[in-house]
Symmetry: D2
Subunit: 257 residues, 4 copies
């Protein structure tokens, strides 16, 4: 569209924290196609999907434990040194530990709840803090922005579902963090957004079949397509600061809410 | 961007209800540039700003009292006959009657409150109903949508401010309508969105100076630029149905909220 | 409980607008038992249920069309003259016109939508305005309050359900009004509250059987008991102004939300 | 009031987790006066204020680190053994670590954010889990309830304020937990409530002067009085299950919101 500033895009450095085959990969591909230098960080940067992103789109892979302050600080230093200071940071970590899905309150071991919060909300704090610290030094781009920080979230941020106590805590915490950051950082020219995805996520795999996160859900467009989610992230990044959106809930047309 | 279906755009018919020099005009210009056939409806379709849109962008002008059921029905019939069934309808009517702005509860004459609700919320109902009735007959486009209905709203939809009783009612009513319509129509392939603008609105006039709605506010990008609002409306219209947003609050970077 | 100021109770004048056998009757009985002088207003004040309230509890009956400004003004004048200026006003009008329940957007005649808004939200405006105008002249009671204005609302105020467009508008409008009034009037010592009942309502009839509003729902405590709703209204009225609640959503323990 | 079941009160066992001189002490006093057996838990149970509660009202003191799973489990076992299984549990821990108040995102050390979440939200999870586990075995009382779990919260649960990132996370997390628990436990007969106090809190000290939490705020009823907060908690505990409130925001009449 006319409003896209190609110069700005070429100078954009995107850092995606969380390295799965869904939203993170879709973002990496789209941002690279749009001319950004793209970094992706994961606990295990050797996953085949990340190697593919590197080979095909030049995406740079980083190892990071996003719930460890030193690891996150190092990540941002390395990205800044090697690609430049990020102008677009996506925190895309779900954080639920194995076995916690649809577990009743009584059956959640405290350690599982604790780890879910740390993986999700505390890592969001660490990534958000480093991103803000770095972006503050950027010059505003053509849209008046020094940078964009996007938190992927879930419907559990909007509503505390039963059998979801730990995830409700984590998602609500992330939403509260995002809101506080938005009020604090937007007047400094840093765009902060919270994007709850109210859906299971599904996508087309390399072999042409559709993959999706939840077993047993039908594979149709009643699953949120991560390529379309990435489009919304790009639009958020390119919004002019005279009309910034803080929160966009994305859901498939047939979703009940 | 890649996802834009030019064919779809060429077949798009946009109807904007409300004919001021701000958001309505920005939408009309952008939609026309994108290849849509554009209709604009106003109580007085002879305003110079509408004639300019007609001359420069081929926008078709219609007279309509949006709070009158027969007038709204006639509008949709005429637009369908002359341009085609709308695929994008924007309800962009503020509806506040003269003198109601910042009036204490005690000073609002009941008739003023009544007219504010009728102008704003009831007209939204009439326009939304006609739009849904017509769009239902459309074939889905490349994004799986039969059409998009967008309600411009205000921060009074999110928060009932003091000295704003009638407007709080009207904006909340419009938001409630939009939500009900979204839940009812999205599964039929009609995208419904509520867009509260949490800001005063300002724009560049033909003579190069900036205009804005509220006297005494400084003319800077602390005012929402209607050209950027129109961009968000276009993005909403082009979202794939696998990831529809229902509500986007737009506010300038420096707005307190 | 200790904090109840019997003197204050004896001077309390309660006006309930809306005269059905559910919440209105429960409020009338409870308020009378607590020593208040009680007025109840209805379009038809000759309903047997109101005569019973008069005979048993000394409740005064008034005829009022709550969507007519002159009628509401007259009501408040008469109540003030005959019982004293109200210190507690309850707006308890649902407002849905016959035939609108669970009607799809396409099937709602505009006049039905219009009347629903007028019956519910506009009447709330009229009653709220008169209540505030009168209460402003009261002296603060032991809790620091000049009066309490309570709006009964529905879950449609919290969520725009499908097949409920007109009611969603009306309930949202009432909620917006209540919020605006609360922000405007609380600092003047008038307590304003919005109480959405997220349930069907059921009660024990004089013959010992249970009545409920919705046919087909089972008669158990999955229906909100209006006697318990009235208790919450009384508690709201007696809250000290150092800790006023604006909104309380009441729902039965088994309700899905 | 008439609906109070004295028998039920005499059998009530209240456990207050968090032992300050404000809400916790007010609750302890009120609950004891109403005939409940009362336990209060604090990291340091030797504070003079707790000894006074013991001497004057027979309140039992317990040492507990509420962010430690084993400590919380032991607390509930001891209370159950010594006073009986709790029927009313109040989690009243703010959790902010020293020095975090009004600190900008950049100045919050990660460890401070982490501890704030652990002190507040994680301890709420631990207390809520133990409370639910124990209450499940209770018989329903006259109001149909097996027990009540109340989380004291702050306005940071409703809105992420600037300069409040860690507290926004913690309070949002607590709200999400409470919601999830409410949806899960209410149908089992356990009443869960989230009570954000949108105010600074102030009270009368033993020497007759007023104390308050924030230095520099005027001591008047623009501070929430914890004795009135305790009243609301008692009312929540005594609500019949046909009309349970999940969330009540309490704010002084003059508070801006």
């Amino acid at each position: 569209m006319a409003e896209i500033d190609t110069q700005a895009s070429l100078q954009d450095v995107a850092l995606i924290v969380g390295g799965g085959p869904g939203i993170s990969s879709s973002c990496a591909r789209l941002f690279a196609k749009e001319g950004m230098r793209v970094a992706i960080a994961a606990r295990n940067p050797d996953k085949p999907v990340l190697h593919t992103l590197e080979k095909t789109f030049g995406v740079r892979r980083y190892a990071c434990d996003a719930s460890d302050p030193a690891s996150v600080e190092l990540l941002f230093r390395n990205v800044a040194d090697e690609l430049g200071v990020p102008t677009l940071v996506v925190h895309n970590i779900d954080g639920r530990v194995p076995g916690i899905f649809r577990k009743g309150l009584d059956d959640v071991e405290p350690g599982m709840a604790f780890d879910t919060i740390r993986n999700s909300a505390f890592s969001a704090f660490l990534v958000g803090q480093q991103a803000a610290r770095r972006m503050r030094e950027n010059k505003p781009n053509a849209n008046g922005a020094k940078g964009t920080i996007i938190f992927t979230n879930a419907s559990a941020a909007l509503k505390g579902f039963p059998l979801s106590s730990a995830f409700a805590m984590a998602c609500h915490a992330k939403a509260g963090l995002a809101q506080s950051m938005a009020r604090e950082l937007m007047p400094e020219g840093i765009h902060v957004a919270n994007v709850p995805i109210d859906a299971a996520i599904g996508w087309t795999q390399e072999d042409g079949t559709r993959a999706h996160r939840l077993a047993g859900t039908s594979v149709d467009d009643n699953l949120a397509d991560p390529d379309h989610i990435a489009q919304t992230y790009l639009q958020l990044h390119r919004q002019h600061r005279s009309t910034w959106a803080f929160e966009i809930v994305l859901r498939p047309w047939v979703e009940k809410w």
